[in-house]
Subunit: 566 residues, 2 copies
């Protein structure tokens, strides 16, 4: 009888427990969780705070009782593991309820301890109005501050998933919000110019977004208020009441009533380190592709580990629920004699930012530059479904690929409709090893309410293949402000479109007049063409080149150029 001990009862741990039981009725399975809850919906926490998910109960996917009944798993919550004793194959368990301590033996141990919020050592950050959000008790504390203090202003530090979701939650609650982000963009998985769409959306909702600004100091000033117990006030209130005075790196100060630290998370490796397990170069627990640590009896999964990047094969840390769940299932398989191997992580991710979805898969341009991987890129902005059918929204899409092979390196998309679908399509195509040339042939669902006869993906593939075949020559948004005297800028949009913005110094000849007016252009110079999204620019480009001009077309057109500055 195999005995499996699992440390951590959320995504990876819970998946492993259920899978192990399905494989073996005889295995003894014990799952320890430090907190009071197992298998809760941690991705749902911000949405319960914001009120979209009304019932707190909905976040509790399983209970120790339901796990026992369905899977015969011995779940022990409020149980902190203080040591792994590899020689003895036991763990030391500290019962947080009665303070007792005991040893539990294992044949196989699974580490699924997750990650911890990074809270930098900013003076004053440890105060009753500053919280991270990682689990249900964290959520409850934030809800308590909101219920008792009724804050009118909140500040979120960090523009990642949790930070953005908390920003939106506060906005929904009618709490004015400041979002501080040290980098020059939110949503790090996408590149700066794609994040511009998010910045515009965030500001349009009235959120005070401060980019390139760090939090440097926090001062808690308690209110002088004595709890009126007989008026029904809670004593907790007294302790919580007050303001925070924030000092920012740009010299500003800010008064706020609730502060969320959402800078990021760091793999929880305390136990693994103490047990002498190998730690990877990025600071996560090292595993092989069977999810085995340097001790063959100990497996590790989820946010605590390093995993191979699908594109580069190098270690990466991707603290997301999808990989954690699949890794947990796979670890159970392998503990019970199967031979499953983890196929690498693409880092597919999506975030709702008010009415926008922002999503990515594979490598972004920042990562490709850092890794010195040669790439080419295209931008398209195309309707999510037939533009003549109601509800169509632009999908702004970026695709990166190897210049000569056309191998897909990564993609990003932003828009109000159909963003998840387009990134999923690329996530599948990339995993399958497809090239951009092959993406041209994809045969996707089309009816006016759902897509277009030439989908966003087909169109991006056409543009990419044109580049690869020399049928198009690109210029990108960040080169437009630095044209040489050998270049002339040509705006081929209709004059009526220019009132919403244009690029300084451009000649305007609408594409449909270009044949007649082609002699207005200087044949000795390179013509840098742009239109609104790049499509008419390509028509103009082909015309000019076929007439013997040198030319380039701004991929993604004025739209990419303009939002890159947002």
């Amino acid at each position: 009888m195999t005995k499996i001990v699992i440390i951590g009862g959320v995504a990876g741990g819970a998946s492993a427990a259920a899978r192990a039981r399905r494989l073996s009725e005889n295995a003894q399975i014990v799952m320890f969780e430090r907190g009071p809850f197992v298998s809760f919906a941690n991705c749902g926490l911000p949405y319960h705070i914001g009120g979209e998910i009304k019932e707190r109960n909905k976040l509790l996917l399983q209970t120790p009782e339901s796990f026992l009944a369905r899977f015969n798993v011995d779940v022990r919550v409020m149980s902190n593991i203080t040591a792994i004793n590899r020689e003895a194959k036991t763990v030391t368990v500290h019962n947080l309820i009665d303070g007792s301590e005991y040893q539990e033996s294992y044949d196989f141990l699974l580490l699924s301890p997750g990650a911890n919020p990074i809270v930098p050592p900013i003076p004053g950050v440890d105060n009753p109005l500053t919280h991270s959000l990682r689990n249900i008790p964290d959520m409850d504390k934030i809800l308590e501050v909101i219920a008792l203090n009724k804050p009118e202003h909140a500040t979120v530090v960090g523009g990642g998933f949790i930070g953005l979701e908390m920003m939106e939650a506060f906005h929904r609650l009618g709490i004015r919000t400041t979002l501080l982000e040290m980098a020059d963009q939110v949503m790090a998985p996408v590149d700066r110019e794609m994040a511009g769409f998010a910045h515009a959306e965030i500001r349009s909702k009235g959120v005070d977004l401060k980019l390139g600004v760090a939090l440097q100091g926090v001062e808690f000033v308690a209110n002088e208020h004595v709890t009126a117990l007989d008026a029904g006030e809670n004593t907790a209130h007294q302790h919580l009441e007050g303001q925070l005075h924030l000092t920012l790196s740009n010299g500003e100060t800010l008064t706020t009533e609730l502060l969320i630290m959402a800078i990021g998370v760091r793999p929880e490796t305390t136990l693994a380190k103490a047990a002498g397990l190998r730690i990877g170069e990025l600071g996560g627990i090292w595993t092989n592709t069977a999810m085995q640590t340097s001790d063959p009896a100990i497996y590790a999964v989820g946010d605590a580990i390093e995993e191979p990047d699908f594109i580069t094969g190098n270690p990466t840390i991707v603290p997301l629920a999808g990989p954690a769940n699949r890794q947990g299932r796979m670890a159970a398989d392998n503990m019970l004699g199967r031979h499953e191997t983890y196929q690498g992580t693409q880092g597919t991710a999506i975030c709702k930012i008010f009415d926008l979805a922002v999503a990515a898969t594979g490598k972004n341009e920042k990562q490709l530059k850092r890794a010195q991987i040669a790439y080419e890129k295209v931008y398209v902005h195309t309707a999510s479904h037939a533009s003549y059918y109601p509800g169509a929204e632009l999908v702004s899409f970026k695709l990166m690929f190897e210049p000569h092979t056309g191998k897909i390196l990564g993609a990003q998309a932003v828009g109000k409709d159909g963003v998840d679908k387009r990134i999923d399509i690329i996530a599948v195509a990339q995993r399958a090893g497809m090239t951009v040339e092959q993406l041209q042939h994809l045969e996707l669902t089309y009816a006016p309410p759902y897509g277009s006869a030439k989908d966003v993906i087909n169109q991006a593939a056409f543009v990419a293949t044109n580049l690869m075949k020399g049928d198009a020559k690109a210029i990108h948004f960040d080169e437009i402000d630095h044209l040489s005297s050998d270049q002339v800028l040509l705006d081929v949009r209709n004059p009526g479109e220019l009132k919403n913005g244009y690029i300084e110094g451009a000649i305007n000849i609408p594409v449909d007049q270009l044949r007649q007016r082609i002699n207005e252009l200087p044949k000795e110079k390179e013509i840098v063409i742009y239109c609104q999204v790049g499509l008419r620019g390509n028509v103009a480009y082909r015309q000019l080149v076929n007439h013997g001009f040198r030319a380039r077309n701004l991929l993604g057109g004025y739209r990419t150029y303009a939002f890159a500055k947002a």
Copy 2:
């Protein structure tokens, strides 16, 4: 200078014209269209009738003038080609406006004539209240009947895309509707049991759906009504006013005020046949993968041709806009010296049926059986996104694959949210040659508003892989009513769920009580397990098998079983 003549100015023809011009500024391009419009949105016609697309103008994507201005294409509408003179390399053009006739020469000819609605020779079907819907004049005629006669009841014959869309259009307009379908299901691309969801949806909206019923006779009874011209009535009205008496194959009769024939379409091959071009075995114009007909100077694309099926390589006819557009682009490439090859058609398709989307890609089970291709199949019903986040809807999903290799053969999905996405994912995976085993590892976008950590696709892949590895043994919905005396039916749902339906003769032991009550089951019999969607059934299956029972699990659970009968 290459001269390209194109017959047919909609999807394939228009795509070819635009692409040809982008490749060559010198080519002479002449595009003929029999009707008054080019490049109109034929997929949008039912939605304009139903009022979702308010402006008729939105359906006119390009005009002859815009085509000339942007692409320097000589568009000649109202021009019927009456002959192809292959020796002389000319076509004979009949000008439908002035009746004149002339020859136009070509270097390359592109046939993009489309398909014609099939109208069977039913007595009386040729009357002023019976219409097909294929182009803008057809649409205008239907709109005229609606405007003048204000029908209270309409009948649609045929449950394919156009028939279903017209049914919905009438329903939106408050016109009571009967839908007649000769087969036992609507939406032929999916299998009967998946169409059951559509049948339930259609009937829930009050549409009178008659399956297995054909139209046998039509009688037009004109109203005795003299147009009151001075009251502003149109003379057209007098001609149109009346009822239709329909005779049906089931002996019923039906009085209706507007009849739409939407049985299907047939490739338009008149010209091709007269010119002696090779016609394929299914009756479409034959082409090679370069889109070339048996005459190397003549190309053909779109609804008029046969094309290779992506799975079998056999000829197929798939009259859909996506393939037509891509084939047109490719034909232009090849006429101008490129070497593009068409990669086959999967038949990816989707239809909106009221609040449902019904979609498919690859082969369906009916086709696999006919082609005698060995297959295995799985069903899952899983939330379109995290079930705790508002707006989640069940996606009912069917996946077919080769039993030993796991190669994807086809997929179908039905639901109110995320159906297009799931079928697109499979369309990509199938085109890339992925197996169901590989689908397990797909890393798709996940945040609560968009997906689940284990997506519908991952879950279907888990079930399929379990079958392949022998970790699961399936029984299907159509076997349940024919169990042998060696089998016992076990319902593992909670008693409260049974009030919405159960299968006669089942023992009920909730999955969470199964370990305690396992001795209530006869060890010598095969236990046929079912739950609501198949998930708890699998947990029970593993438990029973690991306890030494023989068992099978109903894939897709009670939900598949129940809707298969709808």
